[in-house]
């Protein structure tokens, strides 16, 4: 029986250590102590190192004049602006490339993902080859490829490739005509808002009516018509209040229009082609994840092919697709930081690059702010994911 007695139960202090709840507390206190000590050690070292170099930590440097130019800026910026302003320029450039990249990657990814499931053998194989090539090459290599090996070998502005609709492509970038709103354009914007309102109202009304009477109403097409036709009418009524500003060769470069820098094009190409290969796999898995019985049941109920897709397959595939899709969007945003390698002025390049080099004393603050921005983005994404998963969770029984 002696062997079965819980050891140490009898004697007080040592015996306490055998109780799981006591041990838990002891372990946690020890771990917390170790972590706190490590943190203190690091902070102490940083403080000592900064003191030795005569640096006072703080965010005051954000108000100092930056003194460098940025090649692309969505807000007013010059080399007389502050470091704080440069931060916003970088952040907006990051968001710009992320949004454009997400749209492009989603389109390419869905097309390739669906093509991989095509009944056409050749198309399916071709889509498979795309996926295997794009996802097995480092993104950075793809960026260098597009930037240094493709875009940098384009002709000079004088020998530009002439593209349709008044666009030009050369080593300085892609020059597009810029739409310029003329007085009276507000009527079109107003009509668009009205069209959207009508579409939403029709959709709600149609849903109510179907729930009450079972009769269907083509709400989608009605709504689409309202969104397209109303602004179009307003546009014509106001006397076509839109003009295009065409890029024109003046001297050695193009003036006017919108210029997409080669850095931006390379980054967009690289990010969207790379991420699309992962999105394609997610889409494929999502569609394959809807069991065949669902499609067959829908057909047995007499639903048309389009209706089967829209009402049965897509909603179920979306449940599978959206969570990994969101994390791909986040990955694309994080990967846009590779801009620093090809010189696109994103947050990491402008802030953790140029600003850090110029204000070397404030390296810690700069890195922490940069990380903070990405952490915030990923936190927002995971909040959305949690909300989405709660909303979409299967309610059974």
């Amino acid at each position: 029986m002696a062997a079965l007695t819980r050891p140490g139960r009898a004697n007080g202090l040592a015996g306490l250590l055998y109780r799981p709840e006591v041990r838990r507390v002891v372990y946690q206190v020890l771990i917390l102590g170790a972590v706190a000590f490590a943190a203190w050690w690091v902070v102490d070292n940083v403080a000592a190192n900064l003191r030795r170099q005569g640096i006072v930590a703080g965010l005051d440097f954000l108000g100092e004049t930056a003194g460098f130019d940025i090649s692309q800026s969505l807000i007013a910026y010059s080399n007389l602006s502050t470091y704080g302003r440069a931060f916003w320029v970088g952040l907006l450039n990051t968001l710009l490339v992320a949004v454009l990249g997400i749209v492009a990657a989603t389109v390419i990814g869905f097309v390739i993902g669906i093509a991989r499931l095509s009944s056409n053998w050749l198309v399916a194989r071709l889509a498979g080859a795309y996926v295997e090539i794009a996802r097995n090459l480092p993104l950075l290599l793809q960026l260098f490829f597009w930037y240094a090996a493709v875009l940098q070998t384009l002709p000079s502005p004088r020998q530009s490739y002439v593209l349709p609709l008044g666009a030009y492509l050369n080593v300085r970038g892609l020059h597009l005509p810029a739409p310029v709103a003329q007085p009276g354009f507000w009527a079109v914007a107003l009509a668009l808002a009205a069209g959207l309102a009508v579409a939403v109202a029709v959709w709600f009304w149609a849903r109510r009516r179907q729930a009450l009477t079972g009769e269907r109403f083509p709400a989608f097409w009605t709504g689409l018509a309202a969104i397209v036709v109303l602004p179009l009418l307003a546009f014509l009524a106001a006397g076509s209040p839109l003009r295009f500003d065409y890029p024109q060769l003046q001297g050695f470069n193009f003036q006017g229009g919108i210029t997409l820098l080669p850095e931006l094009i390379a980054l967009l190409l690289g990010l969207s082609i790379y991420t699309a290969s992962f999105i394609a796999e997610i889409v494929r898995a999502g569609i394959l994840g809807v069991s065949k019985g669902q499609t067959e049941a829908a057909q047995a109920l007499g639903l048309s092919r389009g209706r089967t897709l829209r009402l049965v397959v897509v909603p179920q595939a979306a449940r599978i697709i959206i969570p990994p899709l969101t994390s791909q969007y986040l990955n694309l945003t994080k990967n846009s930081s590779l801009a620093v390698a090809i010189g696109y002025p994103d947050l990491v390049n402008v802030f953790a690059g140029t600003v850090l080099n110029q204000t070397n004393k404030h390296a810690v603050e700069v890195i922490l702010i940069t990380m903070g921005v990405f952490l915030t983005l990923s936190l927002l994404t995971s909040l959305f994911m949690n909300w989405f998963n709660r909303r979409m969770a299967l309610v059974e029984g």
């Binding site: 771990i31 056409n120 290599l141 990491v348």
Partner: protein, 375 residues
């Protein structure tokens, strides 16, 4: 039998068999399908002629410098002149046998580990995780046993890519297990510390972590401590991949039925015994495909170290494409093509291997945790 009359009167379809039937069913079943097939054929034709034209027909095969490469195609003499650099960086030529020997030693452990049929996995793993690293450090770095010392700033090319990726994964593995267990721990402080670490690392781009290594790490340490640049990058890559590894392993832990935990408790096993003998062996087996996925991601991401001035395979290609002696319009494309081909072979090979493992595990009726959270 009622339908015999109509069935016999309808004409028989033309007898298509074999290849012809396959073609009609898979490529030309309808107008739309035929159009798609033609489009695909056109795309393939374009791709093949472009690649073939660039790599063979328009390529330059002989020359001593960049001035020879003006045909518009690949500049192969450049690739062969720089091939040693692509593989070893500036590792001194007479010492390169040491790198090759290290590769051979690694293969001696990896091949038996990766072929499912070969027995004695624990011993091979022990060799790879305990004996091999020591041998590799002695061989590569030298300075002992009469081997000349080769400082890490001479290392480069594929060697550095492999060193960073394999050290990263080897260090991330135990760390990832600890973090995954920590995240599922009943102790709130341990759980929150693990969650905090994992989510912070997963929330930021690797590049900021590497910047941290090159800019902030020196500030974190006492003045007199200096750490080799490569080692700094190694530490950061290991910490970074540990967070992703932890999530893969957590997936494996979640796939283990509750009954296994309860049975271990019922047998009176301690927590360490329960995890080490019952839960982890099952969980880790399920996560092998996911870990290979993480490794592929890590392998590709090692290329980012070039941004902090370490010349891995891509770093060498990038530097080579601007080498003065070989300056020509086709040099960058050739350099990236060579580096890309090597990267692709490794990544594609590993992804095929992981798919094979996945099928094997699924055939054994296991729930596989294949999706690496990494990519």
């Amino acid at each position: 039998m009622a339908a015999t009359g109509t069935a016999t009167t309808s004409p028989l379809p033309p007898r298509a068999r074999g290849a012809l039937l396959w073609l009609r069913e898979n490529l030309f079943s309808s107008w739309g399908n035929t159009l798609l097939t033609l489009l695909a054929l056109w795309l393939i034709w374009q791709a093949v002629t472009t690649v073939l034209g660039w790599a063979v027909l328009d390529a330059t095969w002989q020359g001593k410098d960049g001035s020879a490469c003006h045909a518009g195609g690949a500049c192969w003499p450049f690739a062969s002149a720089w091939f040693g650099q692509f593989m070893y960086g500036r590792y001194p030529e007479p010492e390169r046998w040491r790198v090759n020997l290290t590769y051979a030693l690694a293969l001696a452990g990896l091949v038996p580990l990766m072929v499912p049929r070969v027995p004695g996995k624990p011993w091979t793993l022990l060799y790879l995780l305990a004996a091999f690293p020591v041998l590799a450090v002695i061989l590569l770095s030298g300075g002992v046993l009469g081997l000349a010392h080769v400082p890490t700033d001479l290392w480069g090319g594929l060697l550095v890519t492999l060193v960073i990726a394999s050290t990263g994964i080897a260090a991330a593995f135990p760390l990832g297990i600890v973090l995954a267990l920590g995240r599922r721990s009943a102790m709130p402080i341990v759980r929150w510390l693990s969650i905090g670490f994992i989510e912070v690392i997963r929330g930021v781009p690797l590049i900021t972590v590497l910047f941290m290594a090159s800019v902030m790490l020196p500030l974190f340490l006492p003045e007199q401590w200096t750490i080799d640049k490569l080692v700094r990058a190694l530490i950061m890559v290991a910490l970074f991949s540990a967070a992703y590894m932890a999530e893969v392993i957590r997936g494996g832990l979640q796939a283990i039925p509750r009954g296994q935990f309860e049975a271990a408790d019922a047998l009176g096993l301690s927590w360490a015994q329960k995890m080490g003998l019952i839960v982890l062996p099952q969980a880790l087996k399920l996560t092998i495909p996911g870990m290979v996925g993480t490794f592929i991601g890590l392998f590709k991401d090692t290329s980012l170290v070039l941004i902090i001035g370490i010349f891995d395979l891509l770093g060498i290609a990038h530097a080579a494409s601007a080498a003065p002696a070989w300056l020509s319009p086709s040099t960058p494309m050739t350099a990236y093509a060579v580096a890309g081909f090597i990267f692709w072979i490794f990544c594609f090979g590993m992804s095929r291997y992981s798919q094979m493992l996945e099928r094997r595990l699924e055939a054994g009726g296991e729930r596989v945790v294949a999706k690496a959270a990494y990519e």
